[in-house]
Symmetry: C2
Subunit: 363 residues, 2 copies
Amino acid sequence: MTAVDNPVEHRPTLAAVAARAGVSASTASLAFSGTGPVSDATRERVLQAARELNYAGPDPRARSLRRGRSGIVGVVLEERVRDAFRDPIKIATLDGISEEIGSVEAGLLVLTEVAGEAGADEVTPVTLSDAPIDAAVLMGCSPRFEESIATLRARGVPVVGIEGDPGDDDVVMILQDNREATRLGAEHLKELGHERVAIVALSLDREHLRAPVTRERIARGTAATTLERLAGAWDVFPDAPAYTGAGSYVEEGRLVALELLSVEASARPTAIIAQSDLLAAGVIRAAEELGIPVPQQLSVIGFDGVKVDGLWPYDLTTLVQPAAEKGRAAGRAIKAMLAGEDVETQLFTSEFHEGNTTAKPSL
Amino acid sequence: MTAVDNPVEHRPTLAAVAARAGVSASTASLAFSGTGPVSDATRERVLQAARELNYAGPDPRARSLRRGRSGIVGVVLEERVRDAFRDPIKIATLDGISEEIGSVEAGLLVLTEVAGEAGADEVTPVTLSDAPIDAAVLMGCSPRFEESIATLRARGVPVVGIEGDPGDDDVVMILQDNREATRLGAEHLKELGHERVAIVALSLDREHLRAPVTRERIARGTAATTLERLAGAWDVFPDAPAYTGAGSYVEEGRLVALELLSVEASARPTAIIAQSDLLAAGVIRAAEELGIPVPQQLSVIGFDGVKVDGLWPYDLTTLVQPAAEKGRAAGRAIKAMLAGEDVETQLFTSEFHEGNTTAKPSL
DNA sequence: TTCGGCACTCGAATCGATTCGAGCGCATCG
DNA sequence: CGATGCGCTCGAATCGATTCGAGTGCCGAA
């Protein structure tokens, strides 16, 4: 079929419909929006005229200009779609936002922050400060956004950040007790008697390196969540070596763990703190592969509380974060801000879940 | 902080900036858009005035009305975010669309089609025929959308459907050889000598039942992809029993397979055709659990060609579908249609990948 | 008979920017 | 010296609907 089947370039407008129905544009508008008093006869006449002209209803663009609202909430992802959506936590959070934002059909404008050459495309690429959004959620806030945030603020568009570090702005944030929660998990290991503990960490920056964590990498690190969780683990095990995976994937956890576990048994860690459940699942796979029984010879603790698909029969010891609730909170914050209310930054706490992947170290 | 910090309700407009800079609105517009000839001095004066007034640049809503383009592409999901994004294929496709649509920052408006009570929300919920979109992609097209499609067409908004059945409309579709590909996989099993084959299927409709496939369920089935793949399997094994999982998850594959495999060895299928790789992974887990070695005692074949995270050491025999490429094709189709070109429905073919999960049946 | 009130309907202003053709000043060229 | 052209600006129209206050006509009540 033809993309745009217009020998005549002009699509009917509300005015045309009104003219055909023999009423004024304002009346036609009322007939469509349902607001205001319109006699049934008139309404029917307008709708009939619309049908005859094949009028598809008021143009959303014009409507959103007039109303000052587009009904769209922007969600900014740090990575490209493919990577962001491999993270169950992000998905759960997004789901929470979507649930709270629109009860019937939710509109979330997904903006990915991917560097790339500007293309002279047919579809104008939309940027954060360029999109017709009523509010914005930054998933993984970072000082990089300062400029966009300033623009949005000047425009009166509410901004909520989920996790991360907003820079020096007073952005409303949805935060989480990453450090305290991790510390809790580490203390659990310590109480069990573990001493040689290693950490499998998330990315420290946007480079996604699979490599040991060094002082320099920490100093250059930009991923607040990773840093906070590291700090929590080191609160309890100050000397625990850490190793970042190139992303929060089972396979990365496996690769890093192979590295960490392929040493003589006496030097081998008796417990591993993974910064995500997916990484933890990979650690368990690696242990299986090396013939190291979990939890007898190796305790594994995760973070997130997503039930990793296919991890059965393991019940991962982990810190359950309220991901969907965080998303809903972001959604509620946005609604409140759009209603002109003041909103405070919120801190969520994670809950320790003791599964069957941690135990006393074997002697 | 305050959501909207306006003692004065009026935000500066382009006109205000122009006035302050001592130029006309048209000139100010040119200064911002970069289009057209404006002297450096004037541009600087305008930008300076903008800074002084804390003007955040042209309002996207007004711009999109005037330009007739919003730069946003709507993507309609059949399920809520949480469920849709657990499917790696959907994510890959989305990524492909996003990649093709905008080189720099892509704007995809995610619309979920969730039935629910209308809420009198602050943020107006946006519907498919109500959102300021330049084009729409239906992921999982179905006759349910006929009305929305009609609206969009009347409005001149290009629509592309990915998989599924568009109803009687002549919607541009991105399709795939589900039946032929599945048949190919089934023939592979037949050539190996398998005779007792069972099928683990995707959902037949939006109810997501975990249950045996019956004649009646087939008749009522609405999921085109599932039906096509079933047909392909039955082309080769007309009597193969099938069982749907309640979603394309590893865990569902496991549960269904436990059902299928928990019979006396002589009646047990020697091969299982799973309609997705995730389901196949679950089948393998179930087999491991029951002590049935794969592929010696049970061959497993999947569909999709996503590498299931954490499935190592298995290399799943499967049909690799070009998911990201399908997304890119949808993106290209949209761009072409927006440029006024004609676009045809496209059919993609899957490629057979022989891994190490299929073998001759043991005697 | 006249007036208040009710139920609709209409006009006109407005939302905020973009765009196109016209105008104007200045410089170069013939 | 006048004409042509170039470079920059400006006015005015337009994008398509929403909204508010001001009618208009009709009916019932005083």
